[in-house]
Symmetry: C2
Subunit: 744 residues, 2 copies
């Protein structure tokens, strides 16, 4: 579901002591040699042609949740694993999944217009004509509704856009809003619209964002054509993902289910995605103020905010059915520690044919699993158990992974060393996010995979891409030139790692390549094999590169003698987050004071063109000084402890049993960062460090309890969250100290 | 000619000791009271209705150089001054002025297209139908030419755009380029195109820059419609302005004239401005690479750079006639110092009807002059002589003011206290640029004029507009909140102050209001009375505000006992420029080193998508360390001297004759900043501090000799210019020291 963003690599800059010589953390010298030789064999088994064939096979038909094509893909994957000798299970859950029954969007006078709500079949795209199996353009989890009202353009539909509307005296209460796709996860747009009293929401793809503004449109080029529509979920997943009727527990056949109206993550208003072909007459009909610069798209007219003279009628009805979803779980038992699991996962369900999302990642994972099975044929066995999971139901709300993780929560927390996720993949740069205690480890993995386009390592290429990054100053480029590692990104949401990392505290990664594969096919019928082979990864070689990267990650974690967790690295990252939230409070205090002074001294009124009829912003509560001392003390203690633990681990000569005891303590450590009651108003999210933003959706918030309380100007809660996070960091610190003591 | 830019106010931030109490620099207490009372009367004579009527009268017909309408406007102004009792002269010069004879632009296959090259008559615009008197869209000083070639899109046509083309391997040699209006003065575009070997140049107005992207188009709104074309000069005025055939001397009837081919400021290639209606088929025909983000406009297709399959044929022929131009010079002799002149000026010629440019400014100046004549009726007389000048021939190349200034150079340098320029005017904020020794004086003027929309002073409104300025950080806002003055901008070019300030070293101002009057009428047939009264200054009240501001400036300079030059203020500004050029060298050294390292380490090659076929930039010469000590020593001496002079002036009790002797020395001081040989390769520009940029046209370069040598990477010349500027600043400093000594 996640769209690869080239900016995925975080840009915090500090320098590790980690050396670039060919050592392998967690392996003794001889084992390291053996590991390198295993990886060399592994690489030799990976074939780009296989990746291409897998993509072609699995994207041959639409295969969304509950569809015949979906079951066919699940069976295909099951049979592949079976044929490679894995111990395979198909685990089925039963989930709510709405599909459209009625979709009407029309404008009633002065100009009459009825939206097509359809994408066009193209002769250049062989699967675009499978109309009988396609889900038409819709937003999954829209409410049923039949509403008529004036239309208001709300830019990207974010909270700050409504602040601007307020300054214009435009209220969306009782009106239908039209928002552009982009800037936030789509589900935020109807959520914020609903919060402001809108009765319906349209979301369209402006050509400025992924259409002709960027390049030639499909099928001539890769960008979104006039009729392309982005489907997608609008469930309020920042509350909780998975089946909305079974929050926090598995949606087995007989599970107790909430009544739909009691699911707190479902919208009350209808939402429909449209093409810019359908959006254009609606936008042209708007009157009222001219949209400010940042709101304007690339359509050839003046963007007004509205409303216009006409009304818009939106009628949507859905089949609210319970559908089976099929997770495939393929196991390769560990030879030494079968009760320690390294889990790889990628979803298999798509909105339509999904050649890119998720099949390109699924194909790479399958090719990786096949190569592992080839290793097995040579007599090699992983020390720890490897699990390959193909998830269903990711697109609507991460259902396959979430229900599975909820079902097996205790066992997973006991056994899982790490969860390694991937999703859609393409030509370009390594993007990697995850648990920062494994950041140095991931740098070693990336060091050892060669980029096929340049012949340098995928680490160096990612690092160099950061250096050239847009808007970077020469000073900052120079600084980065002297840094030989990359920082991995903190994970928000948008793919199947959420339940593992944010609900269960299992160390996780999300891996993928991209950035040289831009286009407008995302969640449309044009995310097809024909599109993929022309614009995404024509030789399928980046599928192989992903298999090499994720495969190494899995193999090393499965075979390492000492698990390569580096809590000093985690400390440094975490401390940078603590520094950030402290600075955030200071900046907000300063900017609020200045802003309030500008308002009080009437400066906005004096300098705003009266013709704009734009009121000054409202004054805001002054920001108090917070007591950050508990957090600062917890961080100081954590620094000492992590140094202490690192020293102890470096000095210790652990025998097998003791080493294993320590390993188990290490991989469970991140669970100590879970908040007992989770985040405020969304207790499913328990991780103190990483969460998707309540108002960003995919975008991460680090130290989310504190950060979001400050951003939302909830001063009381900010102070409470400082104490809560300080407490959990302190107990995490004590846990690590316990490990250190146990090996002295 | 100059288009008002809201950002005209410079943003350097330092704090004057100048107090906001109602004192008046240069006036003793009693005289100040009298001056305030005179100004009150002056204000009471100014009528918005008169301004409106003057605009309507003078914009009633097209009145470009050499047209019947042009002569009629000159006569109208002459008669007005006459009727108000001024001693009026009409001074005529004879200048080269090309007008179009043949204009053909067409595309030959695969798509055939012939450009209309016409604007549309609109029933909503009463003067748009005066086609027989209108100059059609053309660029004045285009060469004659008949060329056919491939077309290449060059963004805004600036040097950096060609650097990017070079990285793409696209050469414009033998081709025709199409550039967007904007970012630089228009004349830079064909100049740079010619430097790169292009054989022709088209300039079009993209709707992103002044069309529907910004608001509804004319006549519904103020922005440029599909057919609107910006006319304008493309003479290389950064070499020298005025009649190209009489560089540095007056173009009297019998003056010796250069052969046109020897005029170094004339182009060799044909240039034609077009509407986006005419540009669209040309741009759509382009193939080749997709234009990068910053190059894309608002037309509804993918911008490619080209070339395409077709050829473009451009044929232009001009009548190269000598035409008379009519300057009106109206004199009001000073009662005490008739040989000391305060000069006000505004041009009267337009490209078509020119209601905004220049008539709105001309009307305000006439109303100001009328109010002054009313003062005279009450028995008041200025102490110094006031000259009101209405210039002809500004649009083609500042010809009226330049030829006049060249004609009277010696007398002007002897007599002129200051030149106060205005041009087009509209609703909004005070914009003011000029000589920085008069910055505190101008702050006092702006303090005493009330903004009609807000009731605060135009000073406070301009100051507050700076605070809210786009992209400003809260820290910088807070800093500006505590500053009670504005910095005036350094003057580049684009209106009639150039000859006075940059050629003769006469202290100058350029004044105007704007920023709430955006639109797309500039230099088109739609710059009409109908447009002006709807979108620019509907009640004509900002004409009155300009008259109040420029009038006060003139009256105070005419009546001050001690001329209010403040060289400490000039020192501070000049020192900030010196600091800037030193920092510029350091930054360029750093960025060149980093950039060269990125190139050498192949980082551009590694991270640039191979599909883009974009070569890395070329490595550049490393930047040496310059010896800035002579400049720094000159600045240190200037600081001492200006402090010394300020103390001496504050302490001195000067009698009438001595005061006048000092006054004369003060107003001539800026002439000591003239370079004997002028700037390299453009000796007409003699001011060491202010010049239009060689590659910006209107945009100013301060310390231009040094700054441009560094920017153009001419290291040898940079060091030479440092010494030259240091010498001139030193001699300026000695001159000021001489004044200080003379009064001790």
């Amino acid at each position: 579901m996640r769209k690869f963003l080239p900016g995925i690599i975080a840009t915090l800059s500090f320098f590790y002591g980690w050396s670039q010589s060919k050592t392998l953390s967690g392996f003794k010298e001889n084992s390291a040699k053996q590991e390198f030789s295993t990886e060399e064999k592994f690489d030799s088994y990976l074939k780009a042609d296989n990746v291409g064939q897998l993509i072609k096979d699995m994207s041959a038909r639409p295969h969304h949740v509950g569809s015949p094509g979906g079951k066919a893909v699940a069976d295909y994957i099951y049979n592949k694993f079976k044929s490679w000798g894995y111990d395979v299970q198909m685990e089925t859950f039963y989930v709510l999944f709405p599909t459209p029954k009625t979709r009407v969007l029309e404008m009633t006078g002065p100009t009459k217009f009825k939206a097509s709500l359809m994408e066009k079949v193209l002769p250049e795209d062989a699967t675009s004509n499978q109309t009988s199996e396609q889900l038409p353009p819709y937003n999954c989890w829209s409410a049923d509704g039949d509403v008529t009202g004036e239309l208001v353009f709300v830019n990207y539909g974010l909270p700050e856009d409504y602040e601007y509307l307020e300054r214009l005296g435009i209220d969306v209460k009782g009106k239908i809003v039209i928002a552009k796709y982009g800037r936030s996860w789509r589900g935020i747009k109807p959520k914020v619209a609903q919060e402001h009293g809108a009765i319906g929401c349209l979301i369209y793809s402006d050509p400025k964002d992924d259409g002709y503004y960027h390049g030639d449109v499909y099928p001539k080029g890769a960008f979104k054509n006039e009729y392309g529509v982005q489907r997608g979920s609008v469930m309020d997943m920042p509350i909780y993902p998975g089946d909305p009727l079974t929050p926090g527990y598995a949606s087995t056949k007989d599970a107790k289910r909430l009544d739909k109206k009691d699911a707190t993550n479902l919208l009350k208003i209808p939402v429909q995605p449209i093409s810019y072909h359908d959006a254009e007459p609606l936008l042209r009909s708007l009157e009222g103020p001219v949209a400010p610069d940042d709101w304007r798209g690339a359509l050839p007219f003046t963007y007004h905010i509205g409303p216009g003279k006409g009304s818009v009628h939106l009628k949507l009805e859905f089949n609210w059915d319970i559908k089976p979803i099929y997770n495939i779980v393929a196991k390769l038992a560990g030879s030494e520690h079968p009760d320690e699991w390294v889990i790889r996962g990628n979803h298999h369900d798509a909105w339509v044919n999904g050649a890119g999302d998720p099949i390109s990642g699924q194909a790479a994972m399958l090719e990786e699993a096949r190569a592992v099975s080839e290793l097995v044929k040579t007599g090699w066995k992983p020390k720890r158990t490897l699990l390959y999971c193909a998830w269903d139901g990711e697109e609507p709300s991460l259902m396959g992974s979430t229900e599975w993780a909820e079902m097996h929560a205790d066992e997973l927390q006991q056994k899982t060393v790490a969860y390694i996720n991937s999703d859609g993949n393409g030509r370009g740069f390594l993007g990697v996010g995850g648990s920062h205690a494994l950041e140095p480890f991931m740098n070693e993995v990336a060091r050892d995979v060669t980029d096929p386009e340049t012949g340098i390592s995928v680490l160096d290429r990612a690092r160099e891409a950061q250096i050239i990054g847009a808007g970077r100053s020469h000073t900052s480029k120079k600084e980065l030139l002297n840094k030989k590692t990359i920082n991995i990104e903190a994970l928000g949401s948008g793919s199947d790692f959420s339940a593992f990392l944010q609900h269960l505290g299992i160390p996780s990664f999300n891996l993928g390549f991209g950035g040289e594969d831009p286009g407008g096919e995302y969640h449309s019928i044009y995310d097809s094999y024909d599109d993929y082979r022309r614009f995404k990864d024509p030789s399928f070689i980046y599928g192989v590169v992903l298999a090499k990267t994720a495969g190494r990650t899995a193999l090393r974690l499965a075979d390492a003698e000492a698990l390569p967790f580096d809590f000093k690295s985690l400390y440094k990252t975490l401390n940078s987050y603590a520094t950030e939230v402290i600075a955030l409070a200071d900046q907000l205090r300063e900017s609020t004071a200045t802003e309030n002074r500008l308002i009080k001294e009437k400066i906005y009124s004096h300098v705003t063109d009266t013709a704009l009829k734009l009121m000054p912003p409202s004054a805001k509560d002054e920001v108090p000084y917070f007591n950050f001392s508990s957090l600062q003390n917890a961080m100081a203690a954590l620094e000492k402890t992590t140094n202490h633990l690192a020293d102890a681990l470096a000095k210790a000569k652990l025998d097998g049993a003791k080493q294993d005891e320590v390993n188990k303590m290490l991989y469970k450590a991140e669970q100590k960062l879970l908040l007992e009651n989770g985040l405020p108003r969304r207790g499913w999210y328990k991780h103190a460090i990483y969460a998707p933003g309540f108002y960003t959706g995919y975008g991460v918030k680090t130290l989310p309890g504190i950060r979001e309380a400050i951003e939302q100007r909830n001063w009381k809660e900010a102070q409470e969250q400082i104490e809560i996070d300080a407490t959990v960091i302190k107990s995490f610190s004590e846990y690590l100290e316990g490990i250190a003591k146990s090996i002295q």
